[in-house]
């Protein structure tokens, strides 16, 4: 393929630049620096692929625009059109659709590296490693094309493997790491768990030891607790026992023994009580004697007392008798008064009824009023009264009728009445007058004519009224005349009846006169009075009889009173010493001296009471003396010849002592009791039971807690020492308890730990970790192994390949290298590792320069040029080659050889040789057609060799 025509519309320095008829062989383009040489190379470099969008790429005024016409197979022309950054467009070919077809699928890198050669391409050291590697495969040529993937793949798999498990497949690194760690963690746990067995046994032993320790110390603790408890008891009761000791000392005295005998009893309370009572009794007796003397002025003598005593019942009865007599007397006087009053009343009454009555009551009694029968009297009086009443009534009626008769007669005579016709006449006359008057008036005025009818009507009303009234009066007069006739008849009947009554009344009045005479009454007294008077007389007579009887009875009761009083007085007189109330005259009526008698009785009774009281007190005093004797006896003593009071006081003194000792004794009991109560609690009994006294001999008999207590007491001289000992033991116990508590807690924790150890939870956990880790790791390990194996296989493939192809690879390049170096070097070889970005150069004498690093700069550039030319020649179709001043480091002879090679290449390839060096242009031998172009500030112009040399020679 050759470029025939190039139109650069817009690209860097170039603007509407047209190159036509470009030679198909060697084209030399000369230009100074910045004329656009490199820009031109870049243009050709990207022509097949389109311009790259990279930052430092050549700019355009507007946008890149290039058109090229290329020829293939000598005749066919094809246009390549490039605009902006778009892909190149092919025009004018039916067969070829894209530049990549045109360039035989060559990739840009390969094309640039092989066909566009500037110094940059030859200066190998400038490449990065990756570029070197890539370049290396390009430079090694066609046989490597398939193979080149092998090292890439090897590398790929190796890196993949490395990503998973690092270079060495160490499970500790990369992706393995987390799973490895999980397994390690599991293993660590497993190891720990496996140690559990040992721990289990250790703990078992520890448990046993701890249990023994606890059991032993529990026992010790119990003993110590008992001891502390004992000391506590002793400490709290030490003073009590000290007191007991003291009391015992007091009680051991002889005197104490006397009072504390079993059979002796002192009753101090009773003695005090007796003494009290005795003294009071004495006092009372004295008081009583004095009072009696004062009151009665009598010295009390035994005979008197005895006499009183012997009559005491009779005297006692006197009180009742006096009371009864006092009542009787008072009743007697009351009755007597009443009798007198009634007698007087009776007399006064009789006198009141009848002034004629002057007699005594006895006279009344003798009145013979029994002759009159009260019933008959009553009959007569009633009959008389009845007749009398009828008579009176009839007389009244008569009088009434007579009065009516007169009244009627007056009425009849008084009534005078007009005849009815007369009224009518008057009426007609009046009417006529009114008619005439009306007529007259109507002549004056027609309305006055009304006067006459009105007057006629008024008259008519009056006449009607008058007529009616007169008619009523006439009727009434007729009736009165009839009644008058009736009354006349009745008056005559009444008068007949009055006469009848008068005839009956006469004998009755005679009878009543007889009664008046008998009863000494005035003649005028009414029958009613007669009757009443008779009745009163009858009652008074009965009353008078009753009063007489009453008087007789009074006399009798008085006699009885007198008799009783006489008996009393006789008894009183038996105690003449007591006659303080005055003398009683037996000759006189006694009931009149009643007050004096009663007073004497009172005195006698009082005296008797006092004497009797005195006697009782004396007796009680005697009883008290007996009691004193008794309490003496119970104390085992006798009263020596002393007064009871004194004896009692002495007794009391004994009592004091007795009490003192008994109290001591009681106290002793109490104290012992207190201690025993304390010792009798269960805890104390337990504490005491465990106590072994120091010496075997006594300990057997001294099982009683109290004895042990006493024994303990005797071990300590003072309570302070007990306290000290107690505190020490207490501390010891507390420490022991604390230690035991600690050990017990430890026991629990050991047990818990043992339980935990007997499960395989820890092992399970560890196994889970290992299992999970191993599962994941196994997958990665396999993946790693696959990658590694792939890499391994590829490595082996590569080795075989290299072995087989190494010598053949660079045969062509060696030839060119030999020519350029004029036989100085005879060959280029890949290194042992064919893929290593290095070459070996073999000198003509056969010595091998192992690495390109050993070559001079020029030689190195020549080496790469040789390899490139070799590769350019291998690639079909022949593509244009661009060489941009690449030979500056070649000396002239090498340059000549190089140019020879270039010229030779120009036979098959179109070559653009860009330079600013006149000597290079000059060195071009024109054994083949060479086209010269001058490039000046972006403008191309065809020129000749000489002109170009001249142009370039001018600075």
């Amino acid at each position: 393929m050759k470029i025939k025509r190039l139109f650069i519309k817009d690209f860097g320095i170039f603007h509407n630049e047209l190159l036509e008829d470009i030679a198909p062989g060697l084209v030399v383009i000369g230009g100074h620096n910045r004329a656009g040489k490199t820009t031109f190379m870049e243009l050709l470099r990207y022509l097949p692929f389109g311009f790259p969008r990279k930052k430092k790429f050549i700019t355009a005024r507007n946008r890149h625009e290039v058109e090229a016409t290329v020829s293939i197979n000598n005749d066919e022309e094809i246009n390549i059109y490039l605009q902006g950054y778009s892909a190149p467009v092919i025009k004018g070919s039916k067969e070829i659709a894209s530049t990549s077809e045109l360039y035989n699928q060559l990739d840009p890198f390969t094309y640039q590296q092989l066909f566009t050669i500037s110094l940059d391409e030859l200066q190998y050291y400038r490449f990065s490693n990756s570029e070197k590697e890539r370049l290396h495969s390009i430079l090694l040529g066609a046989g490597l094309r398939e193979f080149i993937l092998v090292p890439q793949l090897e590398d790929f798999f190796y890196k993949e493997a490395e990503r998973i498990g690092g270079k060495l497949g160490d499970p500790k690194v990369k992706e393995f790491k987390p799973h490895y760690q999980m397994i390690r963690e599991g293993v660590k746990l497993q190891e720990e768990a496996s140690r559990q067995l040992t721990r289990f046994h250790e703990k078992k032993e520890e448990l046993r030891q701890t249990e023994i320790f606890i059991n032993e110390n529990e026992e010790k603790k119990k003993l110590l607790e008992d001891e502390v408890y004992r000391l506590d008891i002793l400490k709290n009761n030490y003073h009590l026992y000290t007191e007991i000791e003291e009391i015992r000392n007091s009680l051991n005295k002889e005197e104490a023994g006397k009072y504390l005998q079993e059979e002796i009893r002192f009753y101090p309370e009773k003695a005090r009580d007796i003494l009290d009572r005795y003294n009071k009794k004495q006092e009372l007796l004295k008081e009583l004697s004095r009072e009696i003397k004062e009151k009665y002025g009598v010295e009390i003598s035994v005979p008197l007392a005895e006499r009183i005593s012997s009559y005491s019942r009779e005297i006692e009865q006197l009180r009742e008798k006096v009371a009864s007599i006092r009542e009787k007397i008072s009743f007697y006087f009351e009755r007597e008064d009443r009798l007198k009053r009634e007698e007087n009343e009776l007399k006064a009454r009789l006198l009141n009824i009848n002034k004629n009555w002057q007699g005594e009551i006895d006279e009344i009694a003798s009145l013979e009023i029994d002759q009159i029968q009260l019933e008959l009297l009553q009959q007569n009086i009633d009959e008389y009264n009845k007749i009398k009443a009828n008579l009176e009534r009839e007389k009244d009626n008569l009088q009434e009728y007579q009065e009516r008769r007169k009244e009627l007669q007056d009425t009849i005579e008084g009534i005078k009445v007009n005849k009815p016709s007369r009224v009518l006449n008057l009426y007609f006359l009046g009417s006529l007058i009114f008619i005439v008057a009306g007529f007259l008036l109507a002549r004056q005025n027609l309305y006055f004519g009304l006067f006459s009818p009105l007057g006629i009507i008024g008259l008519a009303i009056y006449a009607l009224y008058k007529y009616t009234a007169d008619k009523n009066y006439l009727i009434y007069q007729e009736k009165s005349k009839i009644e008058l006739q009736n009354i006349e008849l009745r008056i005559k009947a009444r008068e007949a009846r009055i006469n009848d009554y008068m005839k009956i009344l006469a004998p009755l009045e005679e009878e009543l006169a007889g009664y008046r005479k008998l009863l000494n009454l005035d003649a005028g007294t009414t029958p009613e009075f007669i009757k009443d008077y008779y009745r009163i007389l009858q009652e008074s007579k009965a009353r008078a009889n009753y009063l007489n009887i009453e008087r007789r009875e009074l006399k009798q009761s008085l006699a009885a009173i007198e008799k009783e009083l006489k008996d009393i007085v006789e008894l009183i007189n038996k105690f003449p010493e007591l006659m303080t109330s005055g003398y009683i005259d037996l000759e006189m009526e006694l009931y009149l001296q009643d007050q004096r008698i009663f007073s004497a009785v009172e005195d006698l009774c009082g005296f008797k009471d006092n004497i009797l009281a005195l006697i009782i007190q004396e007796r009680e005093k005697g009883e008290l003396q007996e009691e004193i004797k008794e309490i003496y006896a119970s104390a085992g003593m006798e009263i020596e010849n002393v007064e009871a009071g004194l004896a009692l006081e002495e007794y009391m003194q004994h009592c004091e002592k007795y009490l003192y000792y008994t109290r001591l004794n009681e106290k002793l009991g109490q104290l012992q009791g207190q201690i025993e109560v304390v010792l009798n609690t269960e805890a104390a009994r337990k504490a005491m039971n465990s106590f072994q006294m120091g010496f075997a001999g006594e300990s057997e008999g001294m099982e009683d807690s109290f004895q042990k207590f006493v024994y303990l007491y005797n071990q300590f001289p003072s309570v302070d020492r007990v306290e000290e000992s107690y505190n020490a033991k207490r501390r010891e116990l507390d420490e022991l308890i604390e230690e035991l508590e600690r050990e017990k807690n430890r026991l629990v924790s050991i047990q818990r730990e043992l339980d935990e150890l007997a499960t395989d939870e820890a092992l399970k956990k560890s196994a889970l970790l290992i299992d999970e880790g191993r599962k994941n790791l196994s997958i990665l390990a396999e993946e790693y192994a696959v990658k590694k194996t792939a890499a391994f296989i590829l490595k082996k493939v590569r080795e075989i390949f290299i072995q087989q192809t190494r010598d053949k690879l660079l045969a062509g390049a060696s030839k060119y290298f030999r020519e350029i170096t004029r036989g100085e070097y005879k060959a280029i070889l890949p290194t042992e590792n064919i893929l290593e970005s290095d070459f070996q150069a073999i000198l003509k004498d056969g010595t091998i320069q192992e690495s390109i690093d050993l070559l001079s700069r020029g030689t190195l550039e020549q080496l790469f040029l040789a390899i490139r030319i070799s590769r350019i020649k291998e690639i079909e179709p022949a593509l244009p080659v661009i060489v941009d001043d690449s030979f500056v480091n070649f000396d002239s002879s090498h340059l000549m050889e190089t140019l020879t090679l270039i010229r030779e290449l120009a036979n098959t390839h179109q070559i653009f040789l860009l330079t600013c060096h006149p000597h290079l242009v000059e060195s071009c031998q024109e054994d083949i057609p060479i086209q010269y172009w001058r490039l000046e500030k972006g403008r191309f112009s065809r020129t000749s060799k000489e002109e170009l040399v001249d142009y370039l020679s001018v600075e």
Binding site: L149, Q152, L153, Q190, R195, D771, E782, T789
Partner: protein, 439 residues
């Protein structure tokens, strides 16, 4: 010589735990936590029910890494159960529980006899009537490794059953776990029954008249390395007959690795993949994981590793959204199968898938040919394998799974090597094609 019957077990690993892929829901706690204990409990029940003459334990009663009080107490309790039925227990200490391990433990009841480690030792076994029925020769591990060839010196008595207890990997060059070979064992003509322990897979290595060499296998597997059935063997030695050896299933949890080819869902997505796994899961449940157990009621759970293989576009999703995708699959599988009986518990999902590749494109490629060549060599050439192993680094320097090793390291067995090679090849081809296509 009369017929005797005994139970032979080994590798109880009491105290260790099941690897079920991390945390599990509370409803499975009891099952997973107690599976190892339950297996031994069942073993003791079997011993009592079958009225065996004695029980043999060929090492590794306990798990060295997990000294546990619980395990200690449990073992003693179970042995007491056997004691109450007059069943003696003969035990040797293995590499996991060498004699030094026993020093810290609560001593077992009297019916348990733990052989010493000073050298081969013989013990007469009498039946209930006081008749001598067998002689047991054994030697315990003093430490974690045992290089003495003790089995050569096991002595028997004539006219009686002679039994040898040996905890060995049965590799003549293995100096850690008693260097021994089947030939050596068979060469010792005095021993009728070799009760081996240490390898966790049940294996009857030899059986002829009056002789047998047997690994009982682990009673309860704990990891994918102990895949499949677990149990012990009930042995009847009948004079002049081949020993009757019956395997007794004891595991309530069984490990299974299930490969799932994803090619059928080439254009599918994660949901399709989930559905595919679920379907296979259902099928497994329906067919009881294709295991021929003599007591199917025993199994309460299968612990499954799903290994996705083959080529599918799903692979891209799995690789791109790795964490999310696997979390989704794991969660949904666990959720779906946890409530089932037996439970199908997903331990993990392993992705070994690749993208669909047209290998014909590479047929003429010299590099592709080289790759195939080298992959082939890796399978065949030990030194090549060694070289690769070096390349795989520290993490793949682990010892085989049943050994006591660093749990952070892995062991490359043939299976894993195959899987890794397949994946590596796939990865290279994928990348190669991708890059080739790229401009």
């Amino acid at each position: 010589m009369r017929k005797i019957r005994f139970l032979h077990t080994a590798d109880l690993h009491l105290g260790s735990r099941l690897s079920v892929g991390g945390n599990y829901p509370p409803e499975l706690t009891s099952l997973f936590d107690n599976a190892i204990y339950d297996a031994f409990n069942r073993l003791c029940t079997e011993a009592i029910e079958k009225q065996v003459d004695f029980v043999l334990i060929s090492g590794d009663v306990y798990d060295g890494g997990s000294r546990s009080v619980k395990a200690n107490i449990f073992f003693n309790e179970q042995c007491e159960r056997l004691a109450s039925h007059n069943i003696p227990v003969y035990v040797i200490a293995g590499n996991h529980d060498p004699l030094s391990f026993y020093r810290g433990l609560i001593p077992p009841p009297e019916n348990v006899y733990l052989f010493g480690g000073d050298g081969p030792e013989s013990r007469d076994v009498y039946d209930k009537n006081g008749e001598l029925i067998a002689v047991i020769s054994a030697c315990s591990y003093n430490n974690r490794a045992e290089s003495r060839k003790v089995h050569l010196d096991y002595k028997g008595k004539a006219g009686i059953w002679n039994i040898g207890l040996l905890h060995t990997q049965l590799e003549a060059e293995n100096n850690y776990y008693i260097p021994a070979s089947l030939q050596e064992l068979l060469a010792n003509k005095e021993i009728n029954y070799w009760a081996l322990g240490h390898l966790h897979q049940h294996d009857v290595l030899w059986r002829e008249k009056n002789r047998a060499v047997v690994y009982p296998g682990i009673p309860q597997g704990r990891d994918m390395g102990e895949e499949g059935r677990g149990g012990a063997v009930l042995v009847e030695l009948v004079p002049d007959a081949e020993p009757e050896i019956s395997f007794i299933d004891l595991s309530s949890v069984i490990y299974q690795r299930i490969e799932i080819p994803v090619d059928s869902i080439n254009k599918g997505n994660l949901i399709d993949l989930q559905r595919l796994i679920m379907e296979i899961g259902e099928e497994l449940l329906m067919n009881k994981c294709y295991l021929q157990l003599n007591n199917e009621q025993l199994v309460k759970a299968y612990v499954i590793d799903w290994v996705l293989i083959g080529r599918s576009d799903v692979s891209q999703i799995l690789k791109k959204e790795k964490e999310e995708a696997f979390e989704f699959l794991l969660d949904s599988l666990r959720e779906n199968f946890t409530s089932r009986r037996p439970v199908l518990w997903t331990r993990k999902i392993v992705d070994r898938t690749g993208l669909p590749i047209d290998e014909s494109l590479l047929e003429n490629n010299p590099i592709f040919q080289d790759i195939e060549k080298i992959a082939f060599f890796l399978n065949e050439n030990e030194s090549f394998k060694e070289e690769l192993l070096d390349e795989l680094g520290l993490i793949w320097s682990g010892s085989p799974d049943h050994e006591e090793g660093d749990p952070a390291l892995f062991h490359l067995n043939d299976n894993s090597l195959q899987a890794i090679l397949r994946q590596a090849r796939q990865a290279i081809l994928e990348e190669l094609l991708t890059r080739r296509e790229a401009p």
